[in-house]
Amino acid sequence: MAIIELIKNRPHIHTISLLVANKPGVLLRISLIFSRRGFNIESLVVSPTLDGRYSRMTITAHGEPSVLEQIIKQASKLIDVVHASEHKDSREVVEKELALIKVHAKAEKRAELLQVIQHFKSITIDLGPEELIIQVTGSTEKLDAMVAFLQDYGIIELVRTGKVVMGRGKMTT
């Protein structure tokens, strides 16, 4: 199964949180810093914070740790970036991602499929005559595993939100 191999060989993914001023061009400037060093952004989530003047960005990317450290320093330097840091220790944060997966679900496979869905604690959010849409949340690894598992049934479409994280307890994100 190709995707299993992919997961196994997947390079270490870094998770970076940024608190940025909610101003035009911030995303452009941040992505330029990544692209200049040849860093590929895997996922990127931008959302408003409680205080409307700021946005939260969560970026996942892979590459040399020393280069990433430099990238974070350079991102922190941007005038509109209030704070940027990498979450190195996954025990200090909770992380979640959500995926919508549309799979083939012919009648004869349906029961089996529903068992898989249950196993992954995911839910069916759209039920069609020949296909269904699954919503799954969890760690990136869990989602990867489910996607791998569903390959056998035939995935029609896949949409993932990208990872969001939050510091546990008194830890700020």
């Binding site: 061009g25 400037r29 330029l32 320093k73 350079q74 922190s76 005038i79 209030v82």
Partner: protein
């Protein structure tokens, strides 16, 4: 009578006046007309250049000579894109510029409107910060922020893109007591005491220290502290190309410039020191090898920089302090004691005697001779600007810089065409000083059109054109590394630069023979009725030495022309 409403453009100009802006270097066009209109009534002196690139380099030279931000004003589209080279030149060397660009009206943005260019997008990777103004009432705040950002911390260029409808609309915002909104901008000022103590501790253990004085010292205004520290420690000082003037190069402890074309003794000091202490220098690849572990492997590395992103970027220091050089040095000076450097200084003196900088006066006119004589005649008391190339390196070697902010050269970007317009800016900022532009025949022709700008204002600057009828620095590389296969470097057909000057009403002098150098330079230096061009027709083929081939370390330095064919540089450009 009701008070006439203030337009965005008028508010802009008022704000610039309040910021004490003396000059705006600019070039008009449709999208910028409202701003030029507002300038009509202003006390600010509008300097009409002949090309927008010229405006940016003039503003840059002004900023480097005065430590005040240079202000540029251009129109949209091609006007704005013509400033790009000047913007990256300023960004690479941390120079404060505020560049105002006219822009098409807001409702036309993104529709390929006449003379529309996405200036915000194009310049994003080249600036410290940028703005696209969407509301005339934001203008006072944005100007306040732009000047603050350009000048503080690690300085750099800031762009303000101003749509024409915004500069034409009413601005009702107050122009006084402006509050900035920069939650993400922090300027490291005070380094933790324990970090400075760590520097002091490592210094204490050193017998062969070497201070590496960078441009950051000049930006910080810390040359006095720099000198006190060196003298108290008894430590020799080398400087980068941009650090010229951070420590007087005629001081007994001075070794001059290090690096690719640095002095042999400075590079020997790099090879043999037991500690190297960079103050406001970013370990650029013209002074460090591609394999960084080859950079003085046995020396402790110390680093002071205001920019945290510079710490560990090129090399991992053994100790560092982040903050303003002046503040850190003031603390550090109190913590250090004289070091036992006698034997080390003797060793270096021996290198100085063994490998002095030199050139042969005979066998044709030498660029080095002209520059050396300029130095002797002015006793180093002049602001020198350079262009980029061999003449730049010879100027760095032979024109010792004695005082801060008197050496102006494009280092990081190495922008040909910089030297002459930069001299215009320096002369406008420092009208009472002798300003000398040392330029190559290639680079001068890139921005020579600013001769009008200099002539109209009768600026008494001296333009020394080192004419070797080659793109000399590239020719040198082709000779040394590419089997003398000269490709695209021949400048035969150059104009007669004296006649070129005449066309602008500019006085000209010509030097052809070594015997004439002193006499003609004396005359030129005494001429102060306006600019003058000194056309020095030097030997065509001459090379800059010492040289560390790109990517190499100080151990790879060659002091004179090699007899063997050299390998092409690896790991660096």
């Amino acid at each position: 009578m009701t008070k006439k409403a203030t337009t965005g453009a008028e508010a802009l100009i008022k704000c610039l006046e309040n910021k004490d802006v003396k000059f705006i270097f600019g070039y008009p066009g449709g999208a910028a007309i409202p701003i030029f209109d507002a300038l009509f009534d202003s006390t600010i002196d509008l300097v009409l250049v002949r090309h927008e690139q010229g405006a940016t380099h003039i503003a840059d030279g002004y900023a480097r000579a005065t430590n005040k931000p240079g202000v540029v004003l251009v129109t949209s589209g091609p006007g704005a894109t013509n400033t790009i080279t000047g913007i990256i030149t300023a960004q690479m060397d941390s120079i404060p510029l505020v560049v105002l660009c006219g822009q098409t009206i807001t409702s036309a943005l993104g529709k390929d409107a006449f003379q529309e260019a996405d200036v915000f997008g194009i310049t994003a990777p080249l600036v410290k910060h940028s703005y696209l103004v969407k509301d005339p009432n934001d203008i006072p705040r944005i100007v306040e922020e732009a000047f603050h950002i350009a000048q503080t911390g690690r300085p750099g260029p800031v762009i303000i893109d101003l749509p024409k409808d915004i500069t034409s609309a009413d601005c009702t915002a107050s122009l006084k007591n402006i509050t900035m909104d920069l939650p993400g901008y922090t300027i490291p000022e005070k380094a933790p005491k324990k970090d400075i103590q760590k520097l002091a501790e490592l210094l204490k253990a050193s017998k062969k220290p070497l201070i590496l004085a960078g441009h950051g010292i000049l930006i910080s205004g810390a040359s006095k502290e720099m000198k006190t520290l060196a003298e108290k420690l008894g430590a020799p000082v080398t400087n980068t190309l941009l650090g010229k003037g951070a420590f007087p190069e005629n001081h007994a402890l001075a070794l001059g410039m290090l690096g690719m074309h640095g002095t042999a003794y400075a590079n020997k000091a790099v090879s043999n020191c037991d500690l190297i202490f960079s103050i406001g220098c970013r370990w650029d690849d013209r002074i460090t090898p591609a394999k960084i572990e080859r950079f003085c492997p046995n020396a402790k590395k110390l680093h002071i920089d205001i920019d945290i992103a510079e710490i560990g970027k090129v090399l991992q220091p053994d100790a560092y302090a982040i903050g303003d050089a002046k503040a850190i040095l003031t603390e550090l000076i109190k913590m250090v004691e004289p070091l036992p450097t006698e034997p080390w200084l003797k060793e270096l003196d021996a290198y100085k005697k063994k490998y002095p900088l030199g050139y042969k006066i005979h066998g044709g006119l030498k660029a080095q001779h002209v520059i050396d004589e300029l130095y002797n005649l002015t006793k180093g008391d002049a602001i020198v600007t350079t262009d980029v190339g061999q003449h730049q390196m010879w100027a760095a070697q032979f024109f010792k810089t004695h005082a801060p902010d008197t050496w102006i050269s494009s280092g990081g970007a190495g922008t040909m065409g910089f030297g002459f317009p930069a001299a215009i800016g320096a002369q406008m900022g420092c009208p009472d000083q002798t300003v000398i532009a040392i330029v190559g025949d290639g680079g001068f022709q890139m921005t020579a059109f600013e001769l009008s700008t200099a002539a109209i204002r009768k600026l008494p600057l001296k333009i020394v054109v080192i004419d070797n009828k080659f793109l000399g620095m590239v020719r040198q590389w082709q000779e040394l590394f590419y089997d003398q296969r000269l490709s695209g470097v021949d400048l035969e057909g150059n104009p007669d630069f004296v006649k070129l000057g005449e066309a602008y009403g500019i006085k000209g002098f010509r030097i052809k023979r070594p015997a004439d150098v002193r006499r003609i330079l004396e005359k030129a230096l005494a001429y102060n009725d306006g600019p003058c061009i000194i056309h020095a027709e030097v030997v065509k083929e001459d090379n800059v030495f010492p040289m560390i081939p790109a990517g190499g370390s100080s151990d790879d330095m060659i002091i004179e022309a090699p007899k063997y064919k050299m390998e092409k540089p690896k790991g660096s450009t």
